[in-house]
Symmetry: D3
Subunit: 241 residues, 6 copies
């Protein structure tokens, strides 16, 4: 099967890292196709950028020339998953929800450790809307910007592990979710530092997407995610690239 894994920002190196992480988690017969959105911010750390990413991811997937079996939206706490579900017949998996769903099988409460403080509310709201917040102990910020994660991995692991440890002792989390697509690859080192299971959303999303495809399940089209009605869309899509 072929799974599109779509980054939400336009930084190619992050797309590459996400693609590698996804491929490492995939079954032998799964082809991972990493995609960078056709437009948008170099990193997504707020609502304006997140809404732009939502639309860019949708347009990028719609424009993809090859058939595919599932789509993963690889941004943590971002908007847009519902739109993809409307537009597509194949399963759509958001890494925020994939990580939380997986964490819930591993411990009674989980925490998310993300990047900047300003992204905490976005993640909290996405978990709320997804009905996955009852067992969320906390969403904590490491203070690192998305693009900082790549600069100094050791410092990133330190900052994340520090917040993860506080989540376990102060907030009573028993599992940690890495709250940024750009944190792919750091899980093992955070496990060593905290002693609790650490869930990487990209890896979790790959196994969930594969599972849905294997089970022959896809998005219900009966109401919320029915295909858009045919209608005139003015001045869109933009001509980009």
């Amino acid at each position: 099967m072929r799974i599109l894994v779509v980054n939400v920002n336009t930084t190619q190196s992050i797309t590459d890292a996400i693609g590698e992480q996804a491929a490492a988690a995939a079954l032998p017969g799964t082809e991972i196709v990493p995609l960078t959105p056709a437009f948008g911010a170099e990193s997504v750390e707020g609502n304006y950028e997140s809404y732009l990413a939502a639309v860019a991811v949708m347009e990028t997937v719609l424009a993809h020339p090859e058939p595919f079996d599932a789509v993963i939206q690889a941004g943590y706490g971002e908007h847009g998953r519902e739109g993809l579900q409307e537009l597509l017949d194949v399963p759509v998996v958001d890494i925020t929800e994939a990580a939380a769903s997986t964490a819930q099988f591993l411990g009674r409460r989980y925490s998310v450790v993300t990047t900047l403080d300003r992204t905490v509310p976005l993640i909290e709201e996405r978990l709320e809307v997804a009905g996955l917040r009852a067992r969320c102990a906390s969403v904590r910020a490491s203070g690192l910007a998305v693009l900082d994660l790549e600069q100094d991995e050791a410092a990133a692991v330190d900052a994340i592990a520090e917040q993860a440890a506080l989540a376990v002792t102060e907030d009573r989390a028993e599992v940690i979710c890495l709250g940024c697509g750009g944190m792919a690859g750091l899980a093992e080192r955070v496990v060593k530092r905290t002693g609790v299971p650490v869930v990487d959303g990209v890896s979790a999303a790959v196994t969930i997407a594969e599972s849905l495809v294997r089970l022959g399940l896809s998005t219900s089209k009966v109401r919320t995610y029915a295909p858009p009605r045919p209608k005139q869309i003015a001045n869109w899509p933009p001509r980009v690239r």
Copy 2:
């Protein structure tokens, strides 16, 4: 003061109707500036169209050449208000939230009567995120598409009044919110048919925006709605119109 009232779809006649409704509710000294988004669907009835509208509204407001004192997003249950709050220093009021907040001063529970069944979940989720759902008795669909509302107003009033009456008797609502920007102008006739107060979101939003401006209050910039960080945005904005 000058208030931008931004439609979420690209149908000019709906923009006009919203503008008239807003002007009728405004204080003598308030200038209402109705705006149609630079791109997007002729009516917004689902997530894909709503995300597109969110971005279009933001770009349209950002591109507005004149200064203004407040912005009203005149789409019911649509995405995007958070992005506007990040981008602007002036108050931003969403009509979904304006209607619900106003309804809560009028009765113990309120219901929303909207257009198509498929838009019910969007409204429910926006009310949930806005923390305004505890007193929402129900969100009911009239079965009318947005563009149908203009075709036959009498039929529209019938369909809306029927659901409003059921909301009062079955769901124990005491107030009705008209759940579509395109329903501006129908409130009085629904009052006559149901005997309960009916809130039009556009009118409510105008008075709230005016009030915030008069009180010297605007969006807190301390965390969630801090301005976007300076960063590179690829292939954006699109050249439209």
Copy 3:
């Protein structure tokens, strides 16, 4: 239009301060009529006093000889608003709810800073009943009694600003509501100390009451706030003053 602004305690100087604050927020054509209840405690800081105030406010409004267009109950976290809504055909606005509703347009979470610790539960319960608690980050006590507020305004600002700052950093509030009618007039100074929007309930209530009147909206009479049924009331009202 004429708006009655009813203090909940019997201290005339607080009525005066509330009246001034209300008048400053009102539209040019609005007449503010400040009222002191016909009986009750010099300050309301608990349930016994609050229930007494509820009844005193109702009797005082019922006994008011002039017509009026709206009523504001100017006590924070006090009982009684539902009774006024039953008794009157004009809109009734409670400052606790007015402040919270307004704060929700300004930031994702708000905190209330009130007087004594013992009044915190009353405010929490009123917000709960009003369906306005989902976005309440905390209710914090400054430790000042109501009547202390007038003695030393500088000390009051210090105590309030200290708790407001903690609400922002510890509880993740983005907006502060001044949780006492007697704090009218301190908002600007607390803004300067905290950098976040500060909502004064009296001012907020005035703009909301004016808005409801302008929009032709008033309390739904269909169930909860239907007029009292005609019945015999023994030994009441008391002859006071």
Copy 4:
């Protein structure tokens, strides 16, 4: 021990019925003292009357010349219990809460069957504030006014049993609470008609008050129910009777 059982309305025959019900439930050594409030409505069926009752009950208890060991407030869904808890050192039990607490030991979900539709919201809010609503399946109105209950007991039992049966089949209740102090004495007949346990609040409150006294437990004075601070109360209490 001596327990004051205070009616919330001023109809002596209802006080008598409540007193008989209480006495029938009490331990041999318990003296039940039924009290009628010094002022207020002949029946309490709304917020205005309920707030008035709250104050009347407090004044009546404060004025009681004999010592006592506990107080029962025998109105369903009425205001005021918190004030009594502040004023007194002995335990205070509200029949709404007594019935719900007791019902929770008997089945997974309970419903309340009360008098008029307009009193449903008051009961719902009191259960919410009391933290006893999670297992409440519904509050249903029989359509009978309080004073109707005494006129035709057979008709009252019919109307109550009909709603109780619907609560069991439609709302999945497993226990019924009789939602009016004036329904004391009807429980047995409703049991026969529905086959589920029926809780009378007055009886339940008596055993709870006795239990608290026997266990040496009373209201915590550490915060919410601390005694009122000493202060001047103007024009109060009224001279009545």
Copy 5:
């Protein structure tokens, strides 16, 4: 009346202590029959042991040769109460729920102080399922194992009082529940140390069970707690003792 008070662990000295506590709380005419389960762990501090206790308590009660009027399950936060309710026609009272229900009559929020940190989640979940968590301020661990409680009562009181005091000041509890059957007898000393009411679950359960019996109330058999359907049960019960 005769009440079975069933310990959840197989340590006879704890059964004895529970029995003494129950007898001290009981009415003169009540016979308390303390029972030790026929099998299971010497102390219950986790899910495996708790599930085993649930079954052991049920078998022990089923095997009891004498008639009885009510059953108390004297383990804090343990599984099994629902099964007993299915199997028996007489009232069943769990001490976790008895303590919380009683505490709610004494203050606005209560905390539980229990033994080991690992038992906190069990108590939280049982309170959640029982619909008694809305007013629970916190569940705190003293760090003592169940069997430590008997070794050094002074140290136990110290550890419990320390957490109780933190619950009052940090978590805003107004009442403390002793969260372990083995803490029977310590309440008075914790009251002295904290100044707030302290509820012992065993004593509370005795008065509640007595009250239900006196009121002629027992478990509803209409759905959740209907008797098990007749069916074949393989290899059970085990032959023990």
Copy 6:
């Protein structure tokens, strides 16, 4: 990898059906080992039987002589998963939670269609404790007993499809979960009858267990699911078979 799939009842034909369903969903390299508990009821339809099953499943897994990589508890709405998580180092997946988690990736709200009305509360409570109830539209009973399912599959499909259709139209479900391990194999036929995705818990659990093993994730041992402390367990395990 080797996965134990443990039935909760002692009916071998149901174990066989569950095993076949699991094997059909498994990856080529996965060995499915179906197990029947060593003791317990022929079908589990209530709390007593469910608690017994919880213990029987634990003992059966503990007694399993071969190593294994994951355990699936194949009973819908049953007790016991937490105990297995304590006892084992490998992942444990409950089919109730597996089905709900999977359904949440497919639609906004899901309903469960189960067997008898009396099992509805058990499922609701397990979903509540699992934090998976926010998006549950309803749990509906088909009226069929567990052992009826095998007798007449066509009648079973009819009864299930009827409730599923009502869940979609009345309760606004968009996905259906088959709420009984014994319904394995019916999913496809219910899809045809309802037009919405239907999730079989056993199949879903197999892919989740495989995913956890592939990702190297297992139960957090930091608090709730720490291994039982070493202690004396009297008269246990029973000698069975």
